[in-house]
Symmetry: C2
Subunit: 406 residues, 2 copies
């Protein structure tokens, strides 16, 4: 049985590549950028006025001049005026180019403007103050955003500023999300006492949508060997990523591994030394598609989607390596005997000392879906220990990142 | 001039309400749930088998019996069989109902199955082991998810499990995002030396989309009083939330506050004691619409959107109160003299001790858009101090929450 790390490595060794596409800038957020964004000119592109006020030659101020005749107004969006008369000034607006011949901006707050003259009220006027110097942020040609970045608002703004009305991003794979199990009925159905509604596939679909703007198509098969075989044959022909839920364990009707094998899907591993999610099965189909066969228990399926499917997708889409995993401080002692990595649900909060605190919320095991609503993530407790002390720090897998960090 | 806290309070005192709508479950992620989700029956709804194996009567095991004839198979999704013969067993599959007359499950790993008999290989068999007891997670009628939750994958799964194929969520407001400024050209245009491309409005649009699945319609007006007045009159008639960028400061062409006043928009405040974003203007139009007039500098506009617009929208949509703001440890000393709250851009990382570390990335001020690509958030440094020491903890405003917490 593989460890979590081994399983993760095998999965990441099977990453795929689905090419690139171009999307309009306003639809690019959340996608993985696959081109470098470079400065098309200097940032800022000219010596830019940063305060409303007047532009002067500093040497006049240094020589003692405090009263300047106002000979014009330099607005934003205008070509630069020329301050030809060295002892005069021009009114200047935020965002305007520095007028030619001027080198220093004095803001209105430090002026008295009257009868066409500006009287400087401050003795602390520095050469080139209130100017954003051309090229000081970035030089034309400089890298602004590297390929591989997941596009968020700053990247959208930067792309706009360098004239990219459309961006090259990773094309998204075709994803099938398949539930199996005779006990499952549709969401809109009224289940009989021995039945429950499908919910894992919708959860995986939501994770894909909210994390990567991916769509997954839903399927359902009964616990019937022929139905699964026929359905999976069609799905393998049409989809790049297949996420199954259920029927991967030791049960008499757990046909999935068998059927996949018969269809030519090569098993990479079956079972990971972890709880929940031990029966997880992973394989590939002619190196063209992959199959994530998640266990059917809701917490198991959810954990495996976050811990294994998401990193696989991010790397396959060409996302830049993520920073080291977050970590959290356990607030209470936890005992866990089995020699398995224990993904413990936790409620997160930020303490005054800058730590992320993880309060254990173990729930009632891998079937306890409702418990996921109360928790914010999982801490990953290593398999070689039985007791995990309050105050110890463990890797954190947050699944409500918006919530936890706001 | 208002403090950050005062400004925030005034804005939150002007929250609006845009009603409710029903959306299909698969489109509900990211929206604000406006109905309670309750258990429609017990969670789990029956004594549920959690391991593949056999079901027995524990009293027979306790009496020393180790060999049980297998008299049938209880699959998931079937009505319960009856273990009428007390010294026999039934094979049971994960997800199945506990057969009537049985009370304990022994997993395959602890069995030898041969010739129609199951030989128990373990002496540690507990009464009711490997069962997920009916109602232990939640009772029928229990609250699973409170109204006000931003819907993420666990909520989608829970809604599916209780039969909600559609959810009541907050209706989204009509949002206009308006740039002003003669220096601004379209993204696809080639700017002249004194011009730059629009980028603030796209950034705000992206924040709305990625945080709340909201769409904003973009507008642009030149620095022309009549054009702004006519355009704003139309926008105020049609939109609930108006986000402006630029023309709110002291400049000769900063017509926005004036024009808004003339149109009947009531100013709540102008200017906040903060950097960046000091010229921020906020008002309301007959308590039916609000106007966020952000400064035109890109870092200012971006910060104000996160710090003021987002909390306003979240509360107006009925989102439950968020947990206390996150906090981060400053990695290096920072000096900042002005008596203003300083929102310092920072690069985040998680340290081994469970803290979030914020490395200052001040950039070159409020015009330095490119710097936002390298940072992950802002720390909020209070106005009553000049020096902020390495190791001190300050409130954190992360704008790349996905990135920072993965």
């Amino acid at each position: 049985m593989h460890t979590v790390k081994q399983a993760e490595k095998i999965i990441l060794d099977h990453c795929l590549e689905w090419g690139l596409e171009t999307v309009p800038l306003e639809q690019s957020w959340g996608r993985i950028l696959r081109e470098d964004l470079r400065a098309d000119r200097d940032f800022p592109p000219f010596d830019r006025v940063t305060m409303d006020g007047i532009a002067i030659r500093h040497e006049r101020f240094a020589a003692g001049q405090r009263r300047f005749p106002v000979v014009g107004v330099q607005a934003a969006g205008q070509p630069p005026l020329n301050l030809a008369q060295g002892d005069a000034c021009l009114e200047v607006m935020t965002g305007a180019m520095l007028p030619e011949g001027a080198d220093t901006i004095i803001r209105y707050e430090d002026l008295l403007l009257e009868d066409g003259f500006a009287q400087v009220q401050s003795d602390a006027v520095q050469l080139r103050q209130n100017l954003h110097t051309r090229g000081i942020d970035r030089r034309a040609g400089d890298l602004l955003v590297p390929a591989g970045r997941q596009i968020a608002a700053p990247e959208v703004a930067t792309a706009a500023s360098v004239g990219k009305a459309a961006l090259r991003v990773a094309r998204l794979p075709r994803v099938a999300i398949v539930s199996t199990g005779d006990e499952l009925v549709e969401v809109a159905a009224a289940p009989l006492p021995h039945q429950i509604r499908r919910s894992n596939v919708q959860a995986v679909q939501a994770v894909l949508a909210e994390q990567l703007r991916m769509e997954g198509q839903l399927f359902h098969f009964a616990d019937d060997r022929e139905q699964i075989a026929a359905g999976m044959a069609r799905i393998l022909a049409e989809f790049d990523v297949v996420v199954l839920s259920g029927a991967v364990s030791e049960g008499k009707f757990d046909y999935v591994p068998q059927v996949l094998g018969a269809l030519g899907v090569e098993q990479c591993f079956h079972k990971i030394a972890q709880r929940p999610g031990k029966p997880f099965w992973f394989g590939h189909f002619r190196r063209r598609a992959v199959v994530f066969a998640l266990p059917g228990n809701p917490v198991s399926a959810f954990l495996c989607a976050w811990r294994y499917l998401m990193p696989f997708l991010r790397r396959s889409l060409g996302q830049e390596p993520l920073p080291p995993a977050p970590a959290a401080v356990l607030t209470t002692e936890v005992a866990f005997k089995p020699a398995l990595t224990y993904f413990l649900p936790v409620k997160l909060c930020f303490a005054n000392n800058g730590t992320v605190q993880a309060a254990p919320l173990p729930g009632h095991g891998s079937g306890d879906l409702a418990n996921l609503n109360d928790a914010d993530g999982f801490v990953e407790l290593p398999p070689d220990r039985d007791v995990f002390l309050a105050g110890e720090v463990f890797p954190l897998l947050p699944y409500r990142s918006n919530h936890a960090l706001r």
